[in-house]
Amino acid sequence: MILVLAYCAVLLSFASGVLALLMHQRHNLLALSRYWLKKSPESNEKYQSVIDNSLEEKQFPIFLRQAVFVLLGFSGIFAVLAGMSVLTSKEIITDQISLGLPWLPWHVRFDSLSGFFFLIIGIAVSAVSLYGPGYVKSYDENHHPFAALGLFTGLFVSGMLLVLLADDAFFFMIAWELMSVASYFLVAFQHENPANRRAAFIYLLMAEVGALAIILGFGVLASFATGFTFDELRAAELSSTWASIAFVLALTGFGMKAGIVPVHVWLPEAHPVAPSHISALMSGVMLKVAIYGLIRFCFDLIGEVHWQWGLVLLVLGTFSALGGILYAMMQPNLKRLLAYSSVENVGIIFMVLGLSMIFMANGHPQLAALGFLAALLHAFNHALFKNLLFLGAGIIHHQTHELNIDMMGGLIKRMPQTSMLFLVGCMSISSLPLFNGFVSEWLAFQTALQVDVLDNGVLRSLIPVAAAALALTAALAAACFVKVFGLIFLGQPRSHHSDKAHEIQDKGMLAGSMLLAGLCFLFGIFPGLIITLINGVAGQLLGETLPNDAALGWLWLAPVSAKQASYAPPLVLIGALIAAGVSFWYLRRNPSTVMRRAETWDCGFGGLTSKMQYSSSAFTMPFRRIFAKVWMIDEQIDKDMQGAMNQDVAAVRYHLQVQDHSWPRLYQPIERGVNNTAKVVGRIQTGNIRTYLGYSFATLILMLWVIS
């Protein structure tokens, strides 16, 4: 029954993709409906009006778009139901579908880990399907056909769901490739811009290189096993070196898809270019599927984790977290900033997974379960608030036709509901208490604080340093999102478009965002709801649950023991409301202190314009000076002088370019190396027919010699 729900989710998303293809088939559909009505006129009269309405020229696109997104929404709901049921029932369901190779049918496995990620995908897809119809209306049908968008969205979602269901290596790779290639077409949706084409190409290239590494990883495992199904791979006996090689290959492959520094460069190129709801799905959900892949590979297939792997994950995660947020602070493009922020959050997830591996390998499985839970909870929370932020960015782009935050401002008065939803997203991602981002950060710190149980002194010194880096990352994220919210919504409008913007009328777009914002707040106040579910995942995968899981209730959160640390979000909320309410009521009693509005104080000089506000590069200037080595900064100031002795400044031009270090240090040398190798190898193609005959002759001689 549960598996049927999962299959329905996959089939519905597939169906929504196929349905989108019918966008240009209105005439054929009209003919088909006329034929069908002629066949049996009486019983079909009631459908006549409905069909006529929907197939009418103007209405058909709207109707089809809504139908496609309705199917996608149902797919999401079924995914949520499937995930919840398998998590609460704690079963492991397996099945076989006889597609695939003749001797290797597709194996399906639906257990708690898959179910949890089904839940993530389901929530995100439901929110996006509420948002979608209003958003895609703005795309011009001639240049950006909806058929392509809908088809590939459907394939993308079904690909992700199939990856979660796969139980053998072939099925996994087929589903993985379906996910990657479908998202390539989505990234290349607005292909008339050469920069977009380049971004899509980089995305595809890195996705394929990653897939290659994953295939090699599976190959290493399979060479020690009897077959390709995951059950056989689990039973494989690997020596320590080969297990580490498999781990490195899996880390490269899944890390490339997840966006770990230094293989993250496709993220900030691809995410801004895709349509906003697709960026939301890619950033919020696809990165989590990569993390699912890594967890499945390391904790499930290989089984025995080594603490050195955990250390590698910890170090890589720390660098990604710090690098991601520092790069995010320097971006004036909103979606690029959000993409780099995803790099940061994936880094945090990897850090906590690394901690979990270290505890596991050192013989503390319950603390490993704590780390595992913190990592999965952060994955869940990130999916929620990153989706919300990208959908909000889509709304802003829709209303102001701008993505540069230096051109926005003052939108809080013009778009009040969007600003409220975006504020919830910013507060969640900055890990403020009362929202869900804080709970996963708190759990991550609690995991790091358990470091005293380890024996290795070097680990005991490194882990607190990593925790301090995590604290720095959280503080930098708060600074970044203060800047984002403040520059977009507060202050005065910096451009004409922002001045004339107004609130979005489409209820669907607001509803999708409101769903996510509500969930962020709900899981911030009652994290126990989702933590009990993840506890089941940890129990099934690692064999151990939290040290104190008997005390998990809806009110208190005391993962290790109540003596060690406890947190009760509902009490905090009540306390906050009491304190705010009392001060609010008490201070407004005096009627003579009613608030009065006046002009902004301009120090008596007058002439306050919107250009005098802080811009994004101004806000982050102290960070640029302090952390200068992290970026490649090119800053130029040109002054036009005038007047007597050229002392008077007439105009100032400021040019700032912040670039990623990985391009000249890592990727351009690789590119040059590949090109040079290709040139060298290309010398065998002389174009001379006698040389080619000579090659065949030499091969023939070689074969004769070998056979004899």
Binding site: W442, Q446, A475, G486, Q564, L571, G575, A579, A598, T600
Partner: protein, 314 residues
Amino acid sequence: MNWLLAVLQTMLFVALAPLLAGWLKCCKCRLQNRKAPSIFQPYRDLLKLTNKQPVVAKQASWIFLIAPYIIFSATVLAATVVPLIAVDLPTSASADVIVMVGFFAFARFFLALAGLDIGTAFGGMGSSREMTISSLAEPAMLMAIFTLTMAASTTNLSFAIGHVLNEGFVLRPSFVFALAALILVAIAETGRIPVDNPATHLELTMIHEAMILEYSGRHLALIEWASQVKLMLYGVLIANIFFPWGIAETLGAQALGYGLLAIMGKLALLAIFLAIVETLFAKMRLFRVQEYLSFAYLLGLLGMLSHIILEASR
């Protein structure tokens, strides 16, 4: 009953904060050979502000209006977490020291947003500088907290203080370093000299004040009060964690009375120390603050390393 005591303790905390500010000002004035105002002057200032009409700029949005209440509530919530007089109160269990740091982050988020709300350059400058300094202070503060929690094996402040009390007088090198780091971080976070001058009127030297330039009336009263509570919070943290003798472990009236006297005495001494520091040192350049805070981080790191190397042997 315990909850009632906890609420009363919080209200006492909030009520005593302006007194500490007044006493600090009195010490500073005496050191600088000026005549000091009465130590109850901050109460009079707050009362005067609440009875004035707040004037708000036309461009300000609801964030500007709500921010003072949020800042005050978050600071008061942080005050419920820190044991002032008695150790065993239930509010410490609902939020530990990491949540307390989260409350400060909450208050700072909205303060920075309020600074950006009016659309002047000074507000943006204040927000930018404040977020920079707090980002750099976070790792240092966390390192100091780590050292404490590794020694006491809990992040719950009540239990940590109880643990230190029950051990008697133990001279731990890690605590020495953690104390130094926490003092440096406290000076940075509360915006005192040498990081920020709370009494300056030159906008380009302001950090905290620049964000609240536009506030007046009861809004300004709430924000001023919140910063006084924050100063007292850090003082109570330093006094009660590193020198916890005198704090009430039971809830009898005599123990509570002694606890109150003990904390007032410790805070008075800390205020004298802070006044001496403020008088001896000049305010640092903004970009020297990063060296100051990296030094605080180094102290925290050394504290943690001495805990691992010297104190707990494996």
